[in-house]
């Protein structure tokens, strides 16, 4: 591994505003791996909430801003599958075919990686030397699994954490019912889907549910807490930084 490597981090807006501890874990993790991180201070949001709700003009504003801030980076790493999917697969479609902005979007889309994808596929690291005593289950987030094809990478990383036992839940690949604004616009449907997910997590009898997207985890945590469950949510960066 190149010890003098520098990567640029895109911190998902939910991590920045609601789960700063995940960002801190991410930084600790890369420090541990001897990789220096660059975190542009003017970054905000990738625009996915607007895009998924249909507001493309507004999403484009976020996309242009993201491209301008991150296009000078060599490698962009982000602790969220759905944000990476947004940048990788939706940014190029936001701009007219052949336009300079589309070219810039494509260039950025080629160098962004989701955290576990970057660790396992690019750095070829499956054991980060982490230690965590407990039983965990892994939730596959939709865009990470289906649009980026990442399923094995996080599992391999978890399997190598000392003291951690990975218990597969039933239907881990099923949606948690978050879906961005869907969760507040259609709370009944969102809740019904989430109930099933939380039931499956509870049935796995674990100490924590691990995931690569804090948005799904936030949704799951919301119901676990309402049900007064002892099961904690854990972003994979937090587990790997232990």
């Amino acid at each position: 591994m190149d010890k003098n490597k520098t990567i640029t981090l895109f911190i998902q807006c939910l991590v920045d505003s609601m789960y700063p501890e995940v960002g801190q874990a991410l930084v600790r993790l890369f420090e541990k791996l001897g990789i220096s991180v660059n975190i542009p201070l003017d970054q905000t949001c990738c625009g996915q909430p607007a895009f998924n709700s249909g507001y493309r003009k507004e999403a484009k504003i976020a996309a242009k801003r993201f491209i301008t801030i991150f296009e000078s980076a060599k490698v962009i790493v982000c602790p969220s599958g759905s944000c990476v999917d947004m940048v990788k697969h939706q940014y190029p479609n936001l701009f007219r075919d052949g336009s300079p902005w589309q070219e810039r979007a494509k260039a950025v889309s080629e160098k962004i990686f989701e955290l576990t994808e970057y660790l396992v596929d690019v750095l070829e690291v499956e054991d980060v030397g982490a230690r965590f005593q407990g039983k965990v289950t892994y939730h596959d987030s939709c865009h990470l699994l289906r649009n980026l094809g990442v399923a094995d990478q996080p599992r391999r990383l978890i399997a190598n954490v000392r003291g951690t036992q990975l218990v597969e839940m039933e239907n881990s690949e099923k949606c948690c019912g978050f879906g961005g604004t869907f969760s507040v616009k259609y709370p009944d449907i969102s809740t019904a889907i989430l109930e099933e997910k939380v039931d499956n997590i509870v049935a796995a009898e674990v100490d924590a549910v691990v995931g690569c997207d804090i948005s799904c985890l936030m949704n799951i945590q919301g119901m676990l807490n309402r049900r007064k469950s002892h099961i904690k949510i854990m972003h994979i960066a937090e587990l790997l930084a232990q």
Binding site: G23, A62, I193
Partner: protein, 476 residues
């Protein structure tokens, strides 16, 4: 025309979620068929990649639809079949009624057909005192119950065997029994009489073949063969997109259709029908009519953004994996087409504003695309529909669905474009949230548009200091 109740999506969803019988039925069908179909794709000799080839075949057909339809129609007419192009539901049902009345038809039998649901054929015939008998077991059950289908290929999936037993006891006068073979036998006996007496038979068309000039039907009960060969007249209803160029295309598509629909290698019965019976044939109808239905399809064909949805072969594989369909069931969609395919095609048929909840009311998880035997990108089209609702659209006559939401996202776009504004917004939020009720370090009740979230779950508050500020302060 089918009844349109797409506006009641939210209320229907709540009702469906509370219906425990329905919830069990939906879990059963999804647990049984979803994984089995995925496995069936894996076990294809060509692997799941065959779906991409099927996509190309269907894409070619849709891009050459005019030529393929003309070839098909010429061949059918050469064999003495009659073909009618119906622009809309009314034209299709009018034509059907005219043929039925001319032949003094009193009773008809039907093979399962979603297109006839779309045009509301049964109602029109019944209003004209023609007895209609559905002969697919599932369709027969819901016809007796007076309900619309809740699944594209398993229309009575919402009914338990107990409900069917009660229904059959009441409607067929048989002793109460919950044994499925007994119930099937009872339906079979009742339907046999109808097949023998029917003056006219109806079927849909799974996929016509232009090269040979045949329509095809696929079934597992043999009822479509009976419906199409016993009565004197056979009338086929076919969506204008349901044709492919060559016979060899059917090999790929029917193997995938059977896997997508029921995780089968091949359906029990596949029939190729090209016209009325010829002089030297003993069986088959004397008259053969093919009704090719547009009903909004040309408009979809003309729009590059949505043309892809015409590739669909209506196998319902997307329903069997959709987390939203799995909770709300088919009736919630308020139109014959339900699930992810319904969420895209229904707004295009009945009006995007009118059916806005269908394309907005699901979480965009992408499972439908992976399950589709012809690899249709339904999530892409759901997003495209949402974009039309967000800002309005002339071509599809869409008006902006929510000014409030637009205003919110415009404000959002102002805030995210400047980190200083963004930090101020975060600080303000962190201050205001102190007034919200909480427990265990989490907010238990959110205000305004976020109320829905905290009906069933809590949420962590905004951090006192956000990550980027922490990072900035830490850096030397």
């Amino acid at each position: 025309m089918a009844e349109i109740n797409t506006e009641s999506y939210k209320q229907n969803a709540v009702k469906a979620i509370k219906d425990t019988v329905l919830q069990n039925a939906l879990s059963n069908v999804q647990d049984r068929l979803g994984p089995a179909t995925a496995l069936a794709y894996e076990n294809l000799p060509e692997g799941p990649e065959l779906r991409l080839k099927a996509h190309k075949i269907r894409e070619f057909a849709i891009n050459n639809l005019d030529i393929l339809l003309e070839t098909l129609v010429d061949k059918i007419r050469d064999r003495g079949g009659k073909v009618f192009f119906a622009q809309d539901a009314a034209q299709a049902t009018d034509y059907c009624l005219k043929v039925a009345q001319k032949n003094r038809v009193k009773m008809v039998v039907k093979g399962k057909s979603m297109v006839t649901e779309e045009i509301g054929l049964n109602k029109v015939l019944e209003a004209n005192r023609i007895e209609v008998n559905e002969t697919d077991l599932g369709e027969y059950i819901i016809q007796l119950a007076g309900e619309p289908p809740s699944h594209i290929i398993a229309p009575a999936i919402h009914k338990t065997r107990k409900q069917v037993a009660e229904l059959f006891t009441k409607e067929l006068g048989i002793p109460y029994c919950e044994d499925p073979p007994f119930l099937t036998q009872a339906a079979r006996k009742a339907l046999r009489e109808k097949f023998l007496k029917a003056d006219m038979g109806f079927s849909g068309c799974n996929l016509a073949c232009a090269e040979t000039g045949h329509i095809t039907t696929v079934s597992n009960e043999g009822n479509i063969r009976m419906s199409t060969t016993m009565p004197k007249i056979h009338m086929v209803f076919m969506g204008m997109e349901r044709v492919v160029a060559k016979l060899e295309d059917h090999d790929v598509l029917f193997r995938l259709l059977s896997r997508g629909a029921a995780a089968q290698n091949m359906a029990g019965y596949v029939s190729y029908i090209g016209g009325p019976r010829t002089e030297n044939q003993l069986d088959g109808p004397e008259e053969f009519h093919l009704v090719i239905l547009d009903n909004g399809r040309s408009k979809i064909l003309a729009d590059p953004e949505f043309r892809e949805v015409l590739l669909c072969i209506r196998c319902a594989a997307c329903l069997n994996v959709c987390p939203a369909y799995g909770k709300i069931g088919g009736h919630t969609y308020g139109y014959p087409y339900s699930g992810p395919i319904g969420a895209v095609i229904t707004p295009l048929f009945v009006g995007i504003n009118r059916a806005k909840d269908l394309c907005q009311g699901e979480p965009l998880c992408g499972a439908c695309k992976k399950a589709c035997p012809v690899d249709i990108d339904l999530p892409r089209m759901l997003l495209a529909l949402r974009a039309k609702l967000a800002d309005g659209d002339c071509k599809w006559n869409v008006t902006r669905a929510s000014r409030m939401e637009k205003l919110l996202f415009m404000t959002w776009s102002l805030v995210i474009r400047n980190r200083t504004f963004y930090n101020i917004a975060l600080k303000t939020g962190a201050m205001l949230q102190k007034f919200l009720p909480g427990q265990n370090g989490m907010i238990t009740q959110m205000p305004f548009g976020f109320k829905g979230w905290t009906r069933s779950r809590d949420i962590v508050p905004l951090a006192k200091t956000n990550f980027l500020t922490l990072w900035k302060n830490k850096k030397p």
